[in-house]
């Protein structure tokens, strides 16, 4: 069916910026016709009725980057977006993900999509997002004046290649296939009506394909590249292309060393077995899992009364650092501590070290607690250090104030350097003997936390218990409550010793 494209043009944009004789004019008509016929079928509406026309236009998003080709969307009365150089596929990805029901098509030049936009091209192909990219491949930058592009033939002359192009061009088809495109077609905009009809048929097929589709149209730029390579006349340049292209079947029959000289025309690759991104099982499965996960994390509203504080007073602060090796859960210990303090009406701040410093035996979390608001989050000195490993003890004991205390896991820390601030507790042994966790060291953080909270009365036991229940609800809660109990008992025993 021949489509009248007049009704799809924006009246104000009837006069294009393109040079007389450029293939972009053909491309614009072909794309419009292909889009309208495809979308009218999809929506089952008649483009010749007013309502049908409106629905078709509303359901198309047409996106481009920068360059001569990229002016195309502006002419057409769809939802159109003329983005930044090279970025059209990124923008289109956002549109398609947000509005899957829209038919999303893009027009791009070779410099736009294969040079500055190359990264987006390979990743959009890899993801197989359902949209159609039509490239006007004239093997040069037209708008900026005949510079060479990643598809320019070796040896030809451009304004940025005055002595001949000396970098090899992309094989666009192989690039698309390598990136995982599920539909790759190639056409040419020559003087032959057959080629124009084929180009339209290829775009229709591409739009009908569910997944990422590329239609690479070999085109011309007679005023720019052509003028520098003895093809300044539009008709002659397009005739010249006819000698460079070949039907796919004939091309396949060529000996391999001959194939490189010609561009095969037709659908070169089509894989309908692979679902498009938004219909793919891993994506849909992830959404289902995410829904379950989100439904499971409803937070309940609690009654809250704010404790009023004197904004100009200096409130005493206590800083506690839990330090140990990565697997000992010192971060959770700190967070549980902070939550318990919060529940009992105090303010608190949690900081941690991270990066290389936090690996090995020196990971820490540090909680500063106060009855008043805490502004500066760092403490000049620690009041309490809880050292679960020798490395943590050696590394951080220097930061503890002279009157501070260091709770040391004497199961692991053997050298105290006669430090009078040390409170030695066999945390590791207690854990193994009385808590008996299924995995070694599991629960050591809760035991150490309970011991600390019990010894220094940083929050009421009820708050600590509630906090442990919150932070360990799905992680061996029973065992952790046992660890809590053992920790508090140890605090009692230590109190007796002090």
């Amino acid at each position: 069916m021949r489509i009248r494209i007049g009704p799809f043009m924006r009246p104000a944009m009837k006069k294009s910026i393109w040079c007389e004789g450029c293939g972009l004019g053909n491309m614009s008509s072909i794309i419009t016709s292909a889009l309208v016929s495809t979308v009218s079928k999809r929506l089952e509406v008649d483009p010749n009725t007013r309502e049908g026309l409106e629905r078709i236009k509303n359901n198309i998003a047409f996106v481009s980057g920068i360059g001569c080709t990229s002016r195309m969307p502006g002419q057409l009365d769809f939802n159109t977006l003329h983005t930044a150089h090279g970025r059209s596929l990124a923008f289109a990805t956002g549109i398609k993900l947000a509005r899957p029901e829209l038919t999303v098509a893009l027009a791009a030049g070779d410099g736009d999509i294969f040079a500055i936009g190359g990264n987006h091209f390979i990743h959009t192909a890899r993801r197989n997002i359902d949209m159609t990219l039509i490239v006007y491949n004239n093997k040069s930058y037209g708008m900026t004046g005949a510079q060479h592009s990643p598809t320019s033939p070796l040896g030809e002359i451009g304004t940025s290649a005055p002595y001949g192009v000396f970098e090899p061009p992309f094989n666009v088809v192989n690039l698309a296939l390598g990136a995982g495109a599920t539909f790759v077609a190639q056409g040419a905009l020559t003087t032959s009506q057959e080629h124009l009809d084929q180009a339209e048929a290829l775009i229709v097929a591409a739009l009908g394909h569910k997944g990422f589709s590329l239609v690479n149209l070999i085109g011309t730029c007679h005023t720019g590249w052509g003028a520098r390579n003895r093809r300044a006349e539009a008709f002659r340049y397009r005739r010249y292309l006819e000698e460079k292209v070949m039907k796919l079947e004939s091309w396949k029959a060529l000996p391999p060393d001959e194939q490189g000289k010609y561009f095969p025309l037709g659908i070169i690759h089509q894989d309908d077995s692979r679902p498009d991104f938004q219909s793919s099982k891993p994506y849909l499965d992830a959404i289902e899992r995410a829904k379950k996960a989100v439904a499971g994390t409803q937070e309940l509203l609690e009654d809250i009364t704010l404790v009023e504080q004197d904004p100009l007073a200096v409130y005493p602060r206590t800083s506690v650092r839990f330090a140990g090796s990565g697997g000992q859960g010192v971060l959770t210990a700190g967070e549980t501590d902070l939550y318990a303090a919060f529940l009992s009406g105090k303010s608190g701040v949690f900081i941690k070290n991270y990066g290389p410093e936090a690996r090995g035996g020196g990971a820490y979390s540090q909680v500063t607690i106060s009855d008043g608001e805490i502004h500066f989050p760092q403490a000049e000195n620690l009041e309490v250090l809880v050292a679960l490993t020798q490395e943590a003890y050696d590394k951080y004991r220097g930061e503890v104030s002279a009157q501070g205390k260091i709770i040391v896991n004497s199961t692991a820390v053997k050298e105290f350097y006669g430090d009078a601030r040390v409170i030695a507790s066999p945390i590791g042994d207690l854990l193994a003997r009385e808590v008996r966790p299924p995995k070694k060291e599991q629960g050591i953080n809760v035991l150490a936390l309970a011991l600390t909270m019990g010894l220094f009365n940083l929050a009421p036991r009820g708050s600590v218990e509630t906090a442990v229940k919150k932070y360990f609800s799905d992680k061996n809660l029973k065992m952790n409550l046992r660890a809590l109990d053992v920790g508090y008992k140890e605090a009692e025993r230590q109190r007796g010793l002090i």
Partner: protein, 406 residues
């Protein structure tokens, strides 16, 4: 207010949630321990953001991880893109398709996003961009704190463009200001930057999230009437044209080229001028200023030494001011929460009484330039002193107190 509607909290005050609890507007909340980065995700979700596109980078990655955890299960869209540029490009695309979207990054990643921040500014696309500042330039200190993107946040993309930049200093504020950032972005149809930092992003504090019904939510104004008359960049009373989503039936063209009221490219000098001035003027109305500008004043009424500080450094400054007051010095703190545009009236009022103005910041003097510029309007001009630190450590209360006492 319609009867039966839940009372909304007022976002213009410093901590709207605390204020609402204090005044009994709300009595309940969700009590959580959150990092600044977590809090931004929570704020975004609670205000209705349903799209995130990003690329991992320290120290902002928790925002992407949080978005990945929640959005897909809430009918939203999440994608880790191939690079930082794709992230903001896809975000703008999704916003044009009608979603509230955000993207977060840091240091080098924010530099990469600059071109498209300009695209969003000139096409007036709502979008929230989070910069969890790290020490720069270049790769700098990925895990180290910095505040050296102050001028980049204002002027990072090329060309004259309006921008709103908000600098929270705690997880609670990250949550509340993210809500405000989205609301401003939707209300004024423009990109809004949240300028956090590595410390605010990583530290955890107790936070109170209010009941969802109490959160004021602003959605972009949609066009009404005949789609034929729709002008995506038309003149309106408040300077903010309505915005339809792709597929809504109000077709339009969006381009980074200079464009007319209909969105189509123009070379008409008068139209170019009209549009560029309009996108700036929409932030200049009294109502817009009341919405956008936000500054905390802490004992500034009688202050003759004023510390001007934002983000993590403002927390050291508050301690320093309290200590100075205890020593009998009339010190005060001026804390811009909206960093750009400048709250000039408030700043000039407070500086007008000061003999000395101290601007501590984790850079070699950026916000200090703006304060010095404003101080230049006063006569006599108060002394403006910077405390600048770029050794990756924080400026401490003692550092500031020392300068207050000089």
């Amino acid at each position: 207010m319609r009867t039966g509607a839940a009372p909304k909290i007022d976002l213009r005050i410093v901590s709207p949630v605390h204020q609402a609890l204090r005044t009994g507007v709300i009595t309940q909340g969700r009590r959580l321990i959150l990092s600044g980065n977590d809090a931004i995700v929570r704020g975004a979700i609670d205000v209705g953001a349903r799209g995130y596109f990003g690329y991992p980078i320290t120290p902002s990655t928790e925002i992407e991880e949080g978005a990945a955890r929640y959005l897909l299960g809430m009918g939203g869209v999440f994608l880790q893109t191939e690079d930082e540029i794709a992230a903001i490009g896809a975000a703008i695309g999704a916003s044009l398709a009608g979603l509230k979207v955000f993207t977060a990054s840091s240091g080098p990643g924010i530099s990469l996003k600059q071109e498209l921040i300009g695209f969003a500014a000139i096409t007036e696309v709502p979008l929230v961009i989070i910069n969890v500042q790290r020490a720069g330039p270049s790769t700098g200190g990925p895990t180290d704190v910095g505040q050296s993107d102050v001028m980049q946040a204002r002027w990072g993309t090329h060309g004259d463009h309006p921008i709103i930049v908000i600098a929270p200093n705690s997880p609670q504020e990250c949550y509340e200001e993210t809500i405000r950032a989205f609301n401003l972005s939707e209300r004024y149809r423009m990109p809004v930057i949240i300028l956090s930092d590595a410390k605010v992003g990583q530290m955890k504090e107790p936070a109170i999230l209010p009941p969802l019904a109490s959160i004021p939510i602003v959605n972009r104004r949609k066009p009404v009437g005949s789609p034929r008359d729709y002008e995506p960049f038309g003149l309106t009373e408040d300077g903010v044209p309505p915005l339809a989503g792709f597929g809504d039936g109000f077709r339009a063209h969006f381009t980074g080229l200079y464009h007319g009221r209909n969105g189509l490219p123009t070379k008409d000098p008068a139209m170019v001028d009209e549009q560029l001035r309009r996108i700036h003027a929409k932030l200049e109305t009294a109502e817009a200023k009341a919405d956008i500008l936000k500054t905390e004043e802490f004992v500034t009424d009688d202050a003759d030494v004023v510390v001007v500080a934002f983000g993590i450094t403002s927390r050291a400054a508050k301690d320093a001011v309290i200590l100075a007051r205890q020593a009998g010095i009339r010190a005060g703190l001026l804390r811009p929460i909206t960093l750009w545009p400048s709250d000039e009236v408030t700043i000039l009022r407070v500086l007008g009484r000061a003999k000395k103005v101290i601007v501590p910041e984790l850079n070699l003097g950026q916000y200090g330039l703006e304060i010095d510029r404003l101080a230049g309007h006063l006569s006599p001009k108060p002394q403006v002193v910077g405390i600048n630190k770029v050794d990756t450590a924080l400026i401490s209360p003692a550092d500031i107190l020392r300068e207050i006492k000089i």
